[in-house]
């Protein structure tokens, strides 16, 4: 393993630059250091103006997502040593397809608007009194949506999805997977309210099943699977509407 490695970091200063450029920094390689440690080392000892987001350092907050050698990664879980062996440089860029605010910081408002549209919370038609106690759920009922509930909103899946890049109004993997997470939840009664956003050309039908969102997801959420499952469910609902035009189909 090499002692040192060069990080090529995308720098963009909105006050001075028209587009980002790369600057190189040499950092020591320790086996326990991740890319985020190297960024902190640069900010602390070389260039304090380097700007990036981070918080928990343990793959929970979802703040430190960046492109590392062209792959969307959580930099707190991407070890320098896995790149140092073959003597390559590490290229760090802001997450793809998002507007860049400064250096490695992306603008997330668009994602947050889409997320809210998908209504990723429990919707109840009836609200039983608290005295009735909590909603009970069997392990099987939990298992149906648990995988989709592991999302940390890190937006790596958006940076992996070419549809997000090519069609900016596409709702996108994480928001669709989270909507499906609540649709699959036995306590939820709001799937009909999510239909307008989900069963739409910019919703699940915008997805072409590239499958990259699932491959890059650090929490193994499988957004691509969630989206295809919703496609099938919505087609079945649509067919049911012919058989039972006035009936409740969901």
């Amino acid at each position: 393993m090499a002692d040192k490695i060069v990080l090529e970091i995308a720098r963009y200063s909105p006050e001075q630059d028209n587009e980002p450029h790369f600057e190189s920094y040499e950092v020591p390689v320790y086996k326990e250091w991740v890319v985020l440690d190297a960024l902190n080392h640069i900010k602390d000892t070389v260039d304090g103006s380097l700007t990036y987001r981070w918080s928990c350092r343990m793959g929970i907050c979802g703040s430190c997502g960046m492109m590392v050698n062209g792959e969307p990664k959580l930099t707190c879980a991407t070890f320098l040593s896995s790149y140092a062996d073959n003597g390559k440089k590490i290229r760090v860029e802001p997450l793809r397809y998002f507007p860049v605010v400064r250096d490695l910081v992306t603008e997330l408002s668009d994602f947050l608007v889409k997320l809210k549209k998908a209504k990723p919370w429990l919707i109840r038609k009836d609200e039983p009194p608290l005295s009735q106690g909590e909603f009970l759920q069997t392990p099987e009922q939990l298992d149906r949506y648990k995988q989709f509930s592991m999302c940390i909103n890190c937006t790596l899946c958006y940076a992996a999805c070419p549809v997000v890049g090519l069609d900016p109004i596409f709702v996108g993997p994480a928001a669709l997977a989270l909507a499906q997470r609540y649709n699959m939840d036995s306590r939820d009664q709001g799937s009909a309210e999510r239909t307008a956003v989900l069963a739409h050309p910019d919703g699940v039908w915008g997805c072409t099943f590239v499958g990259e969102c699932t491959r890059v997801c650090p929490k193994h959420v499988d957004p691509a699977g969630a989206i295809q499952q919703y496609k099938i469910a919505s087609v079945i609902d649509w067919l049911k509407s012919f058989v039972m035009p006035k009936g409740q189909t969901t």
Partner: protein
């Protein structure tokens, strides 16, 4: 009716504290060429064209069979054309690719639950492969017997 105020265009948008000047990268037309995962997706989408080629050929075969021995002989002759042979070889490669990628994606689109648990993807995909093998062997036996 009041005059509609036209938005003024600035040649170079200026950075201000409250309206940061974002950098918006453009997606290249060649976005799918640099990465194998994207290229694989484009090839998978392209493979449907070759599925259509085989469908058209099958329809031509049925039409030739309906037309009698002369029409069938003519169809066989046209299939021997080197260009058609090359097209069929390329189509065959893409159809195998199409089939494998389709079978492998099916478990994530249609998870199967048994006894409250989701079956492993391998077990969901396996029947498709077995059916593919059995049907291929049967057709091979029909043709070669």
């Amino acid at each position: 009716m009041p005059a509609v105020k036209q938005p003024t265009m600035k040649s170079a948008p200026q950075y201000t504290e409250f309206h940061p000047r974002w950098y918006r990268p453009r997606v290249s037309v060649y976005w799918w060429m640099g990465e194998w995962h994207y290229l694989k997706f484009i090839l998978r989408e392209l493979s449907s064209v070759f599925v259509a080629v085989f469908v058209v050929e099958t329809l031509m075969l049925i039409s030739a069979l309906r037309g009698g021995p002369e029409a069938y002989a003519h169809f066989q002759q046209s299939m021997r054309n080197p260009l058609v042979v090359v097209l069929n070889l390329v189509s065959f490669f893409f159809i195998v690719f199409h089939t494998i990628t389709w079978f492998n994606l099916a478990p994530s689109a249609m998870p199967v639950r048994l006894g409250g648990r989701r079956l492993p993807d391998v077990l969901v995909a396996a029947p498709s492969y077995v059916a593919w093998l059995v049907i291929s062997v049967f057709i091979g036996w029909l043709v070669l017997r």
